[in-house]
């Protein structure tokens, strides 16, 4: 059995490392894709989202309000328009993403002690526009409200109490993790874990397609006498697992440091987490790859899955709000555990102990998928044996006939 393991490993090794198509997916893409994504989101935070201001009040106070929102880093006053129609035109041209409308009675109302309403109209084709326009306006209003309150309180209470009455309870907001609220620090860690799983699937699927094409539809090399499913599987795992551990280390060290992504977790916790995850992905890949019959099929089959998988992991859309059905579907994929575990590890500084639920999931998955992969390989071995009894030439003939039918 051990001899068979080495034989099968060496054979597959040669197949993988002489196949440029597979190598692109298992080496070039994992090396390059994190860099491309980091470049796309390199700006981290959207600054200076443009807005038009329609100031019907034209008063000192309205101008103060405009100055305040313009000073905020999130937005920039792009134009001051005389009426809404003009501002709307800018919006249709996508030169501005929002309109701030200050009513004619703005200053009057404030002087009379009445409430006044500032309208903020936002393009919501991206939520970030909405967020970036609303936040500075709210901040400016809170700040001005505080000062106005001080004025009002002048007549009501003594100077000493004024400061406190203005704001009896102070509050502060602390961003526990990802303190800059950067979009890349939020999205990149999940994407890295997804890249590990998806490129491994693509590479393994392509390698499997190649084996089948070379061996007339059989999943194992017809010229080799393989009898133990475990040795075949271990042989394949011995190619991908070490390779991907290296790639994961590259992502954790080079990529993370180059773009200063969060890296709170302990190095050895990361190693302890990533090895089971890579093994899990590999075993999962062995199962899925067995479904493929042609080299290029893996691209058709696996690429589109990346986007739904990102959402199923519960990072883009809050996991607490995933419908049960999709939550459990997500649990079938290693990435759901990998993404959550990695985010907790690097962005939130969790230790391996804190990742108990993810680790359990990964271990169970690995065991289940390994058994399934073993059964599949067992079947494949039986099929090859049968084919061989027919004689390799006959077996080939059968497949050729199928090919010709196409």
């Amino acid at each position: 059995m051990f001899r068979e393991l080495i034989e099968s490993w060496w054979h597959d090794m040669k197949e993988v490392f002489t196949d440029i198509g597979v190598l692109i997916f298992v080496i070039a893409v994992p090396l390059a894709y994190p860099l491309i994504y980091a470049y796309v989101y390199n700006t981290e935070i959207a600054r200076d989202v443009t807005a038009a201001v329609v100031d019907d009040s034209q008063s000192n106070m309205s101008r103060e309000f405009i100055r305040k929102i313009d000073a905020a880093p999130e937005m920039a006053v792009y134009a001051k328009c005389t009426n809404m129609a003009e501002a709307q035109d800018l919006m249709m041209k996508r030169e501005v993403y929002g309109i701030v409308h200050i009513p004619k009675s703005f200053e009057d109302d404030l002087r009379k002690g009445k409430q006044t309403r500032v309208g903020v109209y936002c393009d919501v084709s991206s939520m970030i526009y909405y967020k970036n326009l609303l936040l500075p306006c709210t901040n400016a209003s809170l700040e001005m409200n505080k000062l106005i309150r001080v004025e009002k309180f002048k007549n009501l209470i003594t100077d000493r109490e004024r400061e406190v009455a203005m704001q009896p309870v102070k509050y502060q907001h602390v961003q526990l993790f990802n303190p800059q609220g950067g979009y890349d620090s939020f999205l990149l860690p999940p994407v890295l874990m997804l890249i590990i799983q998806q490129t491994m699937l693509l590479g393994m699927g392509m390698a499997m397609g190649k084996t089948r094409e070379k061996n007339r539809g059989y999943a194992l090399d017809l010229n080799m006498h393989l009898t133990h499913p475990v040795s075949v599987l271990l042989g394949r795992m011995m190619i991908y697992v070490p390779l991907y551990i290296l790639l994961a280390l590259y992502m954790y060290t080079v990529v993370t440091q180059m773009f200063t992504f969060p890296q709170l977790g302990h190095y050895w916790d990361f190693v302890g987490f990533i090895i089971p995850y890579v093994i899990d992905c590999c075993v999962f890949g062995l199962v899925l790859a067995s479904l493929l019959y042609r080299r290029e099929d893996s691209i058709l089959m696996f690429v589109f899955m990346s986007v739904p998988l990102l959402f199923m992991s519960g990072v883009s859309w809050p996991g607490s709000n995933l419908p049960d059905f999709w939550y459990y579907v997500g649990r079938l994929f290693p990435s759901s555990y990998g993404i959550n575990g990695y985010v907790r590890l690097t962005s939130m500084g969790a230790s391996l102990k804190d990742l108990h639920s993810e680790m359990t999931g990964i271990v169970i998955q690995t065991a289940v998928y390994f058994v399934i992969a073993m059964l599949i390989t067992r079947l494949q071995i039986i099929r090859v044996e049968k084919g061989r009894k027919l004689g390799i030439d006959n077996a080939r003939l059968k497949y050729d006939k199928k090919l010709l039918e196409e």
Binding site: Y39, M92, G119, C137, P168, Q172, V307
Partner: protein
């Protein structure tokens, strides 16, 4: 002339029939062209069926536990986004809960807050959000902030009431400037409207590019490209390509239309422009995406795997480049310029002009032009295709 058209028409028909036969024998193609996009449409629309995430688990550490602090709990409890059912005895316990993913945020009220507020010592309360989870953190931040603001004001309101002010006067003092937000066309901030509308077309566009390069590349793989070109297409590259891609075009256009009916008629997402303009945009998008695939195949003449890999790269990247999650305008200047060549980016711009906002279509002339240009670019590759057919073999 008529007989010429007839002859070419017949050729295209023959190729189409042959193509349909291939579909039947390759279930994977049907999976990609039908099942995958339908799956994604159902997945994204059901996953985000609640629109804006509601009842996000939030913690509370109330060391003070007085009637005033319980009022905070009531205010927060009345908010849709927050689910404040989890209590923690200490700050550390709450932080631990964040670490374990039980809650996305928590509010911390230290001991003696009420006492300090009443005796005018201006105490401080804090709220903590976990921004490693972007969406829940930013939604909860808004709620927690409003609550904190209101907590302080509740105490001021009592003081003012004691001075004999009316409620209307009080509001004029407490909150003189009110910000009224009007998210245009999506007043409930429904995330499904935002994302399903763009991600599903994005996946269909990805599939179009992949199946275009796959279907054409298959001829090289089987070594039948010369036969199809000389014997079936009469030595004409446009006929060769039209015949091969026509069934896909029809299928994908129908899919876009079905998707619009599902989104705008069944789910009632905003469609200010009406269905017809969107259906035309669907046709334009399918053709542009196919053209993109053709250009990819032209660039890597006859190399199926490379052209598919490149299409996959562009297709997946375009979901980021389109700008519905992170705005394209915030990316680097080079990427802003490059974004025009991503069909999904152009589609997104036209969609938000038409269906979402219902603006006059002339304001979207740039993305429409971009898609139209994309459609004619493959014409530059006709010679290269002819060369590839006659001289280049399949590379595994």
């Amino acid at each position: 002339m008529l007989s010429y058209v007839k002859r070419q028409g017949k050729r295209i028909w023959m190729l189409t029939v042959r193509e349909l036969r291939i579909f039947i024998r390759r279930p994977l193609l049907v999976f990609c062209m039908l099942i995958a996009p339908i799956f994604c449409a159902i997945f994204f629309s059901t996953m985000m069926s609640e629109g804006l995430p509601q009842k996000l688990p939030t913690g509370l550490v109330d060391e003070d536990n007085t009637s005033t602090t319980r009022q905070i709990v009531r205010i927060l409890g009345s908010m849709k986004t927050t689910d404040l059912s989890r209590r923690y005895p200490t700050f550390e316990a709450a932080k631990e809960a964040v670490l374990h993913g039980e809650i996305y945020a928590f509010m911390y009220i230290p001991k003696g807050t009420t006492q300090a507020a009443i005796s005018s010592k201006q105490p401080q309360i804090s709220f903590y959000t976990n921004d490693a989870y972007f969406l829940p953190a930013s939604l909860l931040m808004k709620d927690l902030r409003t609550t904190s603001e209101m907590t302080g004001l509740a105490i001021t309101r009592e003081t003012l009431r004691a001075k004999g002010l009316t409620d209307k006067q009080i509001m004029g003092v407490l909150q003189p400037i009110v910000i009224e937000s009007h998210p245009i066309s999506n007043s409930t901030l429904n995330y499904s409207v935002l994302l399903t509308n763009c991600i599903v077309p994005g996946i269909v566009i990805l599939m179009i590019m992949l199946t275009t390069t796959y279907a054409i590349g298959m001829e090289w793989k089987k070594g039948t490209q010369k036969f199809v070109y000389h014997d079936m297409a009469g030595g004409s590259v446009p006929i060769f390509i039209t015949g091969k891609l026509l069934p896909q075009t029809v299928l994908y256009v129908l899919q876009f239309w079905m998707m619009y009916v599902y989104l705008y008629k069944v789910l009632c997402f905003p469609c200010q422009s009406g269905l017809f303009p969107m259906m035309c945009i669907g046709v334009l998008t399918v053709l542009a995406a196919q053209a993109f695939g053709l250009v990819m195949f032209g660039i890597f003449a006859g190399q199926m795997r490379m052209s598919m890999s490149a299409s996959a790269l562009v297709g997946v990247l375009s979901i980021s480049m389109a700008g519905f999650s992170y705005p394209t305008t915030a990316m680097s200047p080079l990427l802003i310029k490059l974004s025009w060549i991503f069909p999904l980016r152009d589609y997104f711009l036209i969609y938000s002009n038409q269906a979402l906002n219902g603006y006059p279509i002339e304001y979207a002339w740039q993305p429409i032009l971009a898609l139209l240009i994309m459609m004619v670019v493959p014409l530059l590759f006709i010679k290269r295709y002819a060369y590839a057919i006659n001289h280049i073999d399949y590379v595994p």
